[in-house]
C-alpha cells in the first residue's frame, strides 16, 4: 500500500522532472550547448503563469500556451547571441554566456517581481482524486498529465514532421542537413526556441504545485541535468525515462532513507547507470570530435 503509493507518486513527479529536462536535452542534442539558464527560464515560466493568474485569473494550464510564443522569441534571441561564435569555441563560450544570461534573468525577475515567494492557488487546488489507493491533488495530476502529453507530442513532432526530422538531422550532421535544403541557422534557432518554450511550459506546469521566486531555477537545474544524463543527452525518450526513474528513486529514497538524504540515492543511481552505460540509458555511441 505504502509502496504502491510511493511508486505512483514518484512516477507523477517524474513526469514533471522529465518535462523540465526535455528542453535541456533538445538544445544540447542539436547545438551541443549546455544551457545553464534553463532553470531560470523555468522560473520565468512560473512567473508569467503567476502574473497572468493574479491579474487576469487565467489558469496556468491555459496561460502557458498563450505565453509560449514569447518564450520562443526569448530562445531565438538567446540564440542570436550564441550564433556568431565559431563552432569550435561554442561549447565553452556558450556555457559562460548562458550562465551570464541566467544571472541576468534571475536578477531582472527580482527587480521586477521582488524576491518574495509567490504561489498560484487554483480553485480546485484542494481537491483530491484517488488513484489505486493513492491520493493525488488535482493540480499535481493535471500537471503530470500535461507534462506527459507535451513530451509525447514533442516526440511525435520530432519523428513525424519535416521540421522535426530536420531538427534531428541538424543535430547529427549540420552540413548534410544544409545540403538537403535545411536552413541550418533557422532550424538551430527554432530548436533553441523550442527548448526554451519547453522550459517555459515546464514553468507553467510547476506554477500550481510549487512556489516561485527569482532564484528558484537553481532548485531544478541539478535535477534536470541528472535526468538528461540518465536518459542520454540527445534522446527525448531518454529524458522521459530519466525523469520517471528519478521521480521513483526520489520517492523511495525519501521514504526509506531520511528525507534530506534522498538525493544520495538519486546520484548513486545516476553514477551507477553511467558506470555501465557511459552515454546514458538511451544515448547513442559517442560522436567523434
Amino acid at each position: 500500500m505504502l509502496l504502491s503509493s510511493l511508486v505512483i507518486n514518484g512516477l507523477f513527479t517524474g513526469l514533471i522532472y522529465g518535462l523540465i529536462a526535455v528542453g535541456l536535452t533538445v538544445i544540447f542534442g542539436v547545438m551541443r550547448i549546455i544551457n545553464m539558464s534553463h532553470g531560470d527560464i523555468v522560473m520565468l515560466g512560473m512567473y508569467s503563469a503567476w502574473i497572468l493568474f493574479e491579474k487576469f485569473g487565467v489558469s496556468p494550464y491555459v496561460s502557458m500556451f498563450l505565453t509560449a510564443p514569447l518564450f520562443f522569441l526569448l530562445g531565438s534571441l538567446i540564440y542570436e547571441i550564441l550564433d556568431p561564435i565559431p563552432l569550435k569555441r561554442r561549447e565553452m563560450s556558450s556555457l559562460i554566456i548562458t550562465l551570464g544570461i541566467s544571472f541576468v534573468l534571475a536578477t531582472s525577475a527580482m527587480l521586477i517581481f521582488t524576491a518574495d515567494y509567490r504561489t498560484v492557488t487554483l480553485p480546485y487546488s484542494q481537491r483530491v482524486i484517488d488513484i489505486l489507493g493513492t491520493r493525488l491533488g488535482y493540480p499535481a495530476l493535471i500537471s503530470s498529465a500535461i507534462s506527459l502529453v507535451l513530451m509525447c507530442l514533442f516526440r511525435l513532432f520530432l519523428s513525424r514532421t519535416h521540421i522535426g526530422r530536420a531538427i534531428r538531422a541538424t543535430a547529427i550532421d549540420r552540413t548534410s542537413a544544409a545540403l538537403l535544403g535545411v536552413n541550418v541557422k533557422r532550424i538551430s534557432q527554432a530548436t533553441f526556441g523550442a527548448g526554451v518554450v519547453l522550459a517555459g511550459l515546464a514553468g507553467g506546469v510547476l506554477a500550481p504545485i510549487y512556489y516561485v521566486y527569482p532564484f528558484v531555477g537553481s532548485n531544478f537545474i541539478i535535477k534536470a541535468f541528472a535526468v538528461v544524463v540518465l536518459g542520454g543527452m540527445e534522446s527525448v525518450t531518454g529524458a522521459i525515462a530519466g525523469g520517471l526513474i528519478l521521480g521513483v528513486a526520489e520517492a523511495l529514497g525519501g521514504a526509506f532513507l531520511e528525507h534530506s538524504l534522498k538525493d544520495i540515492i538519486v546520484f548513486v543511481l545516476f553514477l551507477g547507470v553511467l558506470f555501465f552505460r557511459p552515454t546514458g540509458l538511451f544515448g547513442g555511441r559517442e560522436r567523434n570530435r
Binding site: S159, H162, R165, A166, R168, A169, I172, D173, T175, S176, A177, A178, L179, L180, G181, V182, N183, V184, K185, E234, G284
Partner: protein, 247 residues
C-alpha cells in the same frame, strides 16, 4: 547547365582552388579527376555553398550561386552527396529518405520519389525501418544517393561514391548512376578511380594543385593514355593489370 568561371576558393588564408573554370552540360556525366589535395572536393563544396568562394562566378542555369547559403542552392535543384556517406546514423532509412524531400515543393511528390528510389535500390526497401548507422557501407552509399534523389535534383554532385566500397558494390553504384543519367539527370562526379570515372562519363576535367590542367571528352582522355599517365603519374590500367596478374 552549370558553369564555373575563374573560381578561387579555400579555407582560411589558403586557396585550394585557383581560377578554375568548368562546365557541366545538361544530361551529361562530367567527371572530375586528379590527385589527392587537388581541390576536387573543395570544388564541389564551393558549388553547393558549404565553402564560400573568394572570387569568380558560379552559375546554374544562368543564375549566379555565389553568396547563397547551401540550403538555397539545394532548393534550386542541386544535390550534393558528400564523400564518406554522411547518412543520419541514428535516424531510420525511411527518415533519411524523407529528409531528402524536406524542401516544401518536393513534399508533394514523396510517394513517387520513394517508389523511384526503392525501385533503383531494392535493398533500401527491405531496410526501411532500420537505423541508417547499422547499414553496411554499400547500403549507406545507396542511401546517401537515394536521399539525394528524393530531392528530385536537376544536377547531382557526387563525391567519391566508390570510396571504401568493395568492388562488387562499386559496380552496383555505377550501374545505377548510368541508369539515372539515361533518365536525364546531370551528374558531376568526383572519383579517385580514374579509369572508372572516365569510362562512365562523357566529359572530364583533370585537376591538379587547384587548377584545371586538362579537359575534354572522356573517351579522348582515356585513349590518350600517354597524356594521362604523364599527368596522373600512374599507368591507367595499373590496378586491374596487377589483379589480373595475381589471378
Amino acid at each position: 547547365m552549370l558553369e564555373l568561371k575563374q573560381v578561387t576558393a579555400g579555407y582560411g588564408k589558403i586557396d585550394v582552388l585557383r581560377g578554375v573554370s568548368l562546365e557541366a552540360r545538361a544530361g551529361e556525366i562530367t567527371a572530375l579527376v586528379g590527385p589527392n589535395g587537388a581541390g576536387k572536393s573543395t570544388l564541389l563544396r564551393s558549388i553547393s555553398g558549404t565553402v564560400v568562394s573568394a572570387a569568380g562566378s558560379i552559375t546554374f542555369k544562368g543564375i549566379p550561386l555565389s553568396g547563397r547559403p547551401p540550403h538555397k542552392i539545394a532548393s534550386m535543384g542541386i544535390a550534393h552527396v558528400q564523400e564518406g556517406r554522411m547518412v543520419f546514423g541514428s535516424m531510420s532509412v525511411e527518415e533519411n529518405l524523407l529528409m531528402g524531400a524536406y524542401l516544401k515543393d518536393r513534399r508533394g511528390k514523396i510517394k513517387e520519389s520513394m517508389a523511384f528510389v526503392t525501385g533503383l535500390f531494392p535493398r533500401l526497401r527491405e531496410r526501411m525501418r532500420q537505423q541508417a548507422g547499422t547499414l553496411s557501407g554499400g547500403e549507406q552509399q545507396m542511401l546517401a544517393l537515394g536521399r539525394a534523389l528524393m530531392m528530385r535534383p536537376e544536377l547531382i554532385l557526387l563525391d567519391e561514391p566508390s570510396l571504401g566500397l568493395a568492388p562488387l558494390l562499386v559496380d552496383t553504384i555505377y550501374s545505377s548512376l548510368e541508369t539515372l543519367n539515361r533518365e536525364g539527370l546531370t551528374i558531376l562526379l568526383v572519383e579517385q578511380n580514374v579509369r572508372r570515372a572516365l569510362t562512365y562519363s562523357q566529359r572530364a576535367y583533370v585537376l591538379e594543385n587547384g587548377e584545371v590542367i586538362l579537359q575534354g571528352r572522356s573517351a579522348d582522355i582515356l585513349v590518350d593514355s600517354a597524356v594521362t599517365s604523364a599527368y596522373l603519374g600512374v599507368p591507367l590500367e595499373g590496378e586491374d593489370r596487377l589483379i589480373r596478374q595475381s589471378l
